[in-house]
Every structure is written in C-alpha cells, then in structure tokens.
C-alpha cells in the first residue's frame, strides 16, 4: 500500500515541527518513516495515524540529526586531508611546486614588499571563500544553509582557515624573520585553502544538481 500525497505531507509537516533543521536529514527521515508506515498499514492492517505514531516512536529523529551532523563534520576534515594529499603526486604536484616557488620568490625579492602584501595574502583566501557562502545564500533556491553536508563543510573548512590566518597574522614578525619557516607554513596554509575551495566547489555543484532535480 503506497501512501497518498496528503499523507506524506502530514508526515512532512510533523517532522518540520520537530526542530529538524536540515532538509537532507528531513528527507531521509521522511522516506524511512513513510516506508515503515506503508509496511505497517499493509501487513498489520493498522490505520495511518496509528502506524505513523508507532513509526515515530521507533525512530529517534533528534538522535538521527545529531549523528548525521557528527559524521558530516568528521568527513570534512578527512576530505580536506585527502585533497591536500592529492597535491603530492601527479599533475597537482606541479601546482604545489609553483605555489611554493612563488611564495619563495616573493620573500626573496624585497622584505618591504613582503610586509606590504602580507595582510592581503592572508585575507585574500578568506574573501574567496566568502563566495561559497554569500552567493549560494543569496540565491535562495539552493538553500545551502539547510543542507547538513554544505553547512558542515563551511564549518570544517572556514573555521580552521580563519584560525590559521589569525595565528599567522599574530606571529607575522616571528615568521617574516625566518623565511624558510614562513614559506613552509604559508604554503601549508594556502594548500589548505586551495583544497577547501576545491571541496566547496564540488559541494556547490552537488547542491545545484539537487536543486535542478526538485
């Protein structure tokens, strides 16, 4: 027995009143609960209301959301490290070598120039990253802040980037007097940012595909 659209809407309405913030989490809960209700109505011959009550009693939807968010946040850090590791081989190694060489070149030409461009170098990547928050949020049809996988990637990538940037800016005198350390740490920072931007780009594409489907 398949549920009618109004019955699915009733389940959707109930889930939306239960502080389940993320749309992808709501969709998965709805599909699971609806499947249980269909089975109960078919095999146990219970009413839609009773089957729904039993289904929601069996499934702790708040625990579901918490577990999903925790898994997504853990996934982000692993994904960033995998992306960074991919720059250590193949054609991407050329990009990494170019980055390190460019940073080394900036340090080698003029100490004053390095001091001048230092703040822009640190803030620039953060401004680039704002693109992945500002544009999709402005284009409301994507509803990115209501998707657990997008929101967790924003948290997992942007917060460490801002932390690193603040740390590097705070220790700029120490770093600028030690070129090798500075090149190594800033290369790592830019590699982290580049990996984060690639991941956010892929995630935004996934969101656009999803928005096009529904």
């Amino acid at each position: 027995m398949k549920l009618a659209h109004y019955q699915i809407d009733q389940l959707k309405e109930y889930i939306s009143t239960q502080s389940i913030w993320y749309e992808d989490v709501r969709e998965e809960i709805l599909d699971h609960v609806a499947s249980i209700v269909e089975e109960k109505m078919t095999e146990e011959d219970v009413s839609f209301v009773n089957a729904s009550a039993e289904a929601f009693n069996e499934l702790d939807i708040h625990k579901f959301q918490r577990a999903k968010l925790l898994a997504e946040h853990k996934a982000v850090l692993k994904e960033v490290l995998r992306e960074m590791k991919s720059f250590l081989s193949g054609t991407r190694l050329i990009y990494l070598a170019t980055l390190v060489s460019f940073i080394g070149f900036i340090f080698s030409i003029n100490a004053d120039l390095t001091q001048e461009i230092w703040p822009f170098a640190m803030m620039g990547p953060i401004l680039l990253m704002v693109y992945f928050i500002a544009i999709p949020t402005y284009l409301r049809k994507y509803r990115v802040l209501y998707l657990s996988y997008y929101f967790s990637r924003i948290n997992g990538i942007y917060l460490p980037t801002m932390f690193f940037s603040s740390l590097i800016t705070w220790a700029d005198d120490w770093l600028l007097s030690r070129p090798l350390w500075c090149i190594a740490i800033t290369s790592f920072y830019f590699l982290y940012v580049a990996s984060g931007l690639l991941i956010m780009n892929r995630t935004l594409k996934k969101v656009k595909v999803r928005a096009a489907q529904y």
Partner: protein, 112 residues
C-alpha cells in the same frame, strides 16, 4: 549479550556486502533485505543502521544519489571504488574472526 549487540559489531561489513551484491539500496531496503535473508532472525534498528551508513559515507566507502520515489525524495547508497576494495577486506576479517571463534567455542578446557 543480545544478538543486536553482536550484529552491531559487524553491521558495516553486512552493509558493504549487501551493496556489493546489489548496485544501490536505500536505508529501509537494507533493513528489509537483512530481515528477509535471515528469516527475521536479524533485525537492524534505524538507530544502528543510519549512523553506520553515514560513517561509511564519510569514510569514502559509500556514495549517495537522490531520486523521487513514491512521492518523496529517496536517498540511495552505493559502493565507491574504495568501498569495493574494503568489502573484500572486511568480509575476510569477519570470516577469520568466525573461524577463530568456532575454534574457541569447540575447545574443551582441562585443569592441570
């Protein structure tokens, strides 16, 4: 120890194996498949299933796609290339474990 606790330890392996045999499945379908294969002896709760699915996805062993089905959005899980390799490793590990467990349970201990 109840059988549900015993199942929980091998749930990742069960899910990976099922997805190896079937191209893609959604969460409820996995619970029903396990119930059908084991004639109701094994019941996977949602509280155990979905955290495991999300964990396998976060580790890169599963990928997901969503489709409209029966008037709602359905999320299907399928194995990635890494997932296909992990299945063999996990199944082999579990088989070794069962073999050693059988040896232990059949062993008669003597004193002195």
């Amino acid at each position: 120890m109840s059988s549900s606790k015993l199942i929980k330890g091998s749930l990742a392996t069960i899910i990976l194996k099922l997805l190896e045999d079937q191209e893609k499945m959604y969460g409820y379908e996995i619970t029903q498949k396990v119930k059908a294969i084991t004639a109701g002896q094994f019941k996977i709760t949602e509280g155990a299933l979905y955290p495991t699915l999300h964990k396998l996805e976060s580790e890169g062993f599963l990928t997901t796609e969503t489709q409209m089905a029966d008037g709602r959005v359905r999320k299907y899980y399928s194995l990635t290339k890494e997932g296909n390799e992990e299945v063999k490793h996990k199944v082999s590990e579990l088989e070794d474990f069962i073999e050693n467990l059988q040896k232990l349970l059949k062993t008669k201990l003597t004193i002195g």
